[in-house]
Structure formats: C-alpha cells, structure tokens
Amino acid sequence: MAELTLLDAVNRALAHELAADENVVLLGEDIGLNGGVFRATDGLQDRFGAGRVVDTPLAESLIAGMTIGMAAQGLRPVAEIQFMGFIYPALDQIINHASRLRTRTRGRLSCPMVLRAPFGGGIHAPEHHSESTESMFAHIPGLRVVIPSSPARAYGLLLASIRDPDPVIFLEPKRVYRMLKQEVVDDGEALPLDVCFTVRPGGDITLVSWGAMMHETLQAAERMEGEGIDCEVIDVATIKPLDMETILESVQRTGRCVIIHEAVRTAGFGAEIAANLAEDGLMSLFAPVVRVTGYDTVMPLHQLEHVYMPGTDRICAAVRQTMAYT
C-alpha cells in the first residue's frame, strides 16, 4: 500500500508489466536515462536495461510505425509521445494501420500496442502542449481510447491497456500528474476497460466527465450538495468503446445530464454522449443536455489559459440551469 501520484502510478504499472512480460518494450523520446520529460519512466531503463526502455530518434511517425511492426511480431510495445500536441505526425500510422491491421488481415496479424501521451492544459506549458483532441481518436474504428483521472485508475487501466490485444491510445491528464496522491496497491490488478466508473452516486442530475475535468466536476458536485442538489458523477474512463449503458441508466433515473470536457466544444466527445442521449434517452430527459466545454478557440497561451478551461463556476451554472427545468 503506497501513496502515489498519477505519475507514480503510471511508473509502477509500466514497471510491473516490464517485470511480468518480457515482450513489453518501452520506446519514446527521452524516456531512458532522462526518465521522460515528466519522469513517468524514471528509473526504468536502469532497472530493465536500454534494450527494453528505448530512446528513439525525434520522429513520431517512426515511433508509431515501429510499434506496429513490433506488435505484429508479438512484442507489446508501449510508446510514449512526449506531448499530445506532437502525436499528429503519428495519426496516419494509427488510422491507416494500427487500428486496422487485424481487420486488414482477417485476424492473421494484430497490433497489441499502447501509445501513451500526456494531454490537456492547466500547467502553464508552452504553445502546442495543452490541447485535448481525444475525440479525433474516438472516431477511429478498431482503437481503444483510455483516459484515467486518478492514480488508482491510471495504474489499473494502464495495466489493462498493456495487456489488451488491440491498440490503445492512453491519454494521461498531465494536470493531475502531481495534483494529488492516493493509496494504490501495486499488485498487478488491472481495472476493466470499456466501462464507465460511477464515482459519486446521486439522484438529481448526472454529471459525465473524464480526465482532469473530473476534479472540477467533483468539486462542482460538492458545491451543489450545499445547494441541496444531489449529483451523480460518472468518469467515462474509456471513451472508445463507450459504455453508454451506465450513462443511460443514470440519466433514466435523474432525467438530467451535464457533460463536462476540456476539449473544444465542436465535435468534442461530449457531442457523442449527448447524441446518444438524444436518441436513446430522450424520453427520460426533463431538461436539455448541457455541454460545459472548452471554447471553440485555439488553446490560448498561459496568461489566458484559465479563461479557456471550464471551471467549477461554469459547471455549477450549468447544473443550476438544468435543475431549473421542471
């Protein structure tokens, strides 16, 4: 039992799988001696050797492409993309190959790889370092897109992702990396993929979020409790494939839903959840489904970063507005 940050949890999960399965190989930029720019791989090269924790040249398409060749040969590559803002050169490999190698060969070859990338804003990082484009990945058939929001879920979901037989994009909310510590048992127990986690039961309204925004969402739920509003809070965790069952079941009880994400609003993943509610949950909705999201702007540099990021104020306002319908 240890008090771990999300970053520690990622490090422990990686170490656990490196120790458990010799097919697991880590690759990425500056992950070796340097232990990664956030130290997620700190100490792993010392412990497992430069043959298994590999520094690559500066080339993201290469990193993604190599993981495909490695995975097809039965390795379990876990690649780090230093920041999500630099994952785009790898998208071609992800869309056209990693996600469909199994389909394209009718199961002869598969691609059990994990691409890890820190994402999201709030740490005053330079330009291009703070975006959240998870919905682009959620649109790619054959992929899994997993987003932990706490140390415990980071540990359990990363283990599950590495063991998963298909490609996983594992997005780490860097604002949470060192935000809080949590008791995590390093016992190699994975958490289930493809399911939402209801982290706070409630009867009046359903708040749905993932990643770093879970924290503002939970704070908002606390505040609303003070105003006598009982919020149920759901952490989607795996956004693709999406567990709508859990969300629908909740909304059928509460009749109200607010979806919160940091990504830009238009075509953000909140839209997919709201669309499913409009199709399968409409008859149980008492109020409009409100999305509290980043604005449809380029992520501003850090002086105005807080302006872009949805905060508890905006979430609470949306909850009150939604509760006002009777």
């Binding site: 398409s61 993981t67 060749g69 097809a72 040969q73 389909t103």
Partner: protein, 308 residues
C-alpha cells in the same frame, strides 16, 4: 528461377510488367524467416515468398480474406499509404534484434516513396540501431505521372542511404541474377548482425500506373519503346537459350503449365464467395466490445438482403 519468374510475371497484374526481374530476384533471395513489407505492386515478391496467386486475386477482388495468407504468415499486407511500411519494417527488425533471431525485414517501395518522411524516418532508425533491414527502392522511373527527375534532385536513390549512415547501392533491376545476388548478400549481412542496406534496382514501369491510369497523358511512346527492348524476361530467355540451359520446347511447355496454374487460381478466386455482411465486425477487435454488438446484430438481421 525462370519458372518462378514467369509464374511471377503471369501471376502479377500487368501493372508490374517490366519489373519482374526485380520482384523475383528479391522474393527468391528472401528466406521463409524473412518478412516482407510490400506496396500494391509487389505481386511477384509475394508469389516468390509463398503467397498464392489466389490470395492476391481475392484481395484485389475486394475481399480482405486475401491478405490472410496460408503461408508467409508474417508478411505484411499490401501497404497503400506510400512509405508507411518502411517504419513497420524497422519495428519488425527491432523485434528480430531484440529476440536475437537471424531474420531480416524487407521493406519495398518505389522511387516516389522516397520523398515521403516515413521512408527517411525508417531508414534513419535502421542506421541508428543497425537493424536487420534491407530496403528495396524499386526505381521504375515513374510515380504515377511524376518522372524520377522531378521526385528528387538526389543523384541516385541509393545515395539517400548516406543521410542515414547506411550503405546504399544500385543494381540492374532487369537482371534477375544480379538482383538475386545483391539481395542475397545484403540479407545474409543483415541476418548475421551486419546491419541494414539500401538497394535500388533500376527498372521500368511498362504499363499504366494502374488500370485506372492512362500513361499516354504524360509519357512518350519513344521512351516506352526504348524500354521494351530491355524486357527482363526476353533477356533471360535469350541468355538461357544461348547457354543451352533452356529450349523453345521447355519454354512452350512452361507457358502451358503457367496457363493451367493461372486458370486454377482464377477459378479458385471466382469460386470464393463474398463474406457475410456481419463479418465486417469480426476482426475489428479480438472480441467485439459490447458497444458495437448492437450494430453487428442489426447487420446479421439484415443478412444477405442488405441494401444499406
């Protein structure tokens, strides 16, 4: 070799006509332990490496099952996004090295592909880690309508290897013996830890880029005719006949044999039924997530009568 070569030729589509020597030379130099990462034009290499004519036809006939090879289990499917396969090969080669296996990865691409970042990134990686990779840049002088001269100011495609610090060489791509020899040596070197090599077989695309293309729009008959004279099959036949290693009778017999083989494959292909609609969900994931079960069921329900 000639048998395979001709089989290769006739097995491949017209669009690789003129490049048979390069293809068969490479395919025969590869061992069963080596892994191929081809484009859409390397039918001859596939055949020489154990993929069947029927499988190739089934794939180009519009059914993914064709890429589910009975032999050549590790060979990659056709890579249509240009040059992407080069980095896959680097990854596989990394795996061979990691497991201390004496195997080589063979990414094959064209002259046009050398302009793409992925080609260079994969090449550079092979240099950095001294990977068991033999890069084949089949220079057929054209990338659809773009001539080699407009693709790069680099004197030869072989010289691109310098940028990655690995050896590069050109070979007469219409001389099956030379191609076989150069690739055999490079593959031996790679398998035994000697590192990567880039080889540029110089050849020519005799047909349109694909059946959807009309090369007369952009290249002259003169140029084409010059290259007719260099046909690698004629060339090999002439040589073998001169050596008395081959006779017209054998040649006719072979043609008959090949004709029969093709007819069998074509029949097998034509007899392959299209897959059931719901099978588009089969190999999406190892096990289909609950989230998509409903979609698959609705498709199963529609069954054959599906009109969308």
């Amino acid at each position: 070799a000639i048998n395979l070569q001709r089989t290769g030729r006739l097995g491949t589509y017209a669009s690789s006509e003129g490049q048979e020597a390069s293809m068969i030379g490479i395919g025969r130099a590869m061992g069963p332990e080596d892994v191929l990462f081809p484009t859409y034009r390397e039918h001859g290499i596939y055949l020489a490496h154990g993929v069947t004519m029927t499988e190739i036809l089934v794939y180009w006939g519009g059914n993914e099952s064709g890429m589910n090879f009975a032999n050549a289990q590790d060979d990659f499917p056709v890579s249509i996004p240009i040059a992407t396969q080069v980095t896959h090969a680097a990854g596989a080669a990394f795996a061979f090295k990691y497991r201390k296996q004496q195997r080589a990865a063979v990414p094959v691409c064209g002259d046009g592909a050398t302009s793409k970042g992925d080609f260079y990134e994969g090449l550079n990686a092979a240099g950095v880690w001294n990977l068991p990779c033999v890069f084949a840049v089949i220079n057929n002088q054209w990338a659809i309508s773009l001539p080699r001269s407009k693709q790069s100011a680099c004197e030869t495609m072989a010289q691109k290897a310098i940028a990655a610090g690995i050896p590069g060489e050109q070979v007469d791509g219409n001389d099956v013996v030379a191609v076989y020899d150069r690739f055999s040596k490079a593959l031996d070197k790679a398998r035994s830890g000697g590192g990567p090599t880039l080889i540029e077989p110089l050849t020519y695309r005799m047909r349109d880029h694909t059946t959807a293309d009309d090369a007369r729009r952009y290249r002259s008959d003169e140029e084409l005719n010059q290259h007719k004279a260099l046909d690698p099959i004629k060339r090999l036949k002439t040589y073998l006949l001169a050596q008395n290693a081959w006779s017209e009778q054998q040649d006719q017999a072979l043609m008959v044999e090949i004709q029969a083989a093709i007819e069998v494959s074509v029949k097998e292909y034509l007899d392959t039924p299209p897959r059931e609609p719901h099978t588009i969900f089969d190999c999406l994931y190892e096990t289909l997530p609950r989230a998509y079960a409903g979609q698959a069921d609705s498709l199963r329900a529609l069954g054959e009568t599906n009109n969308g």
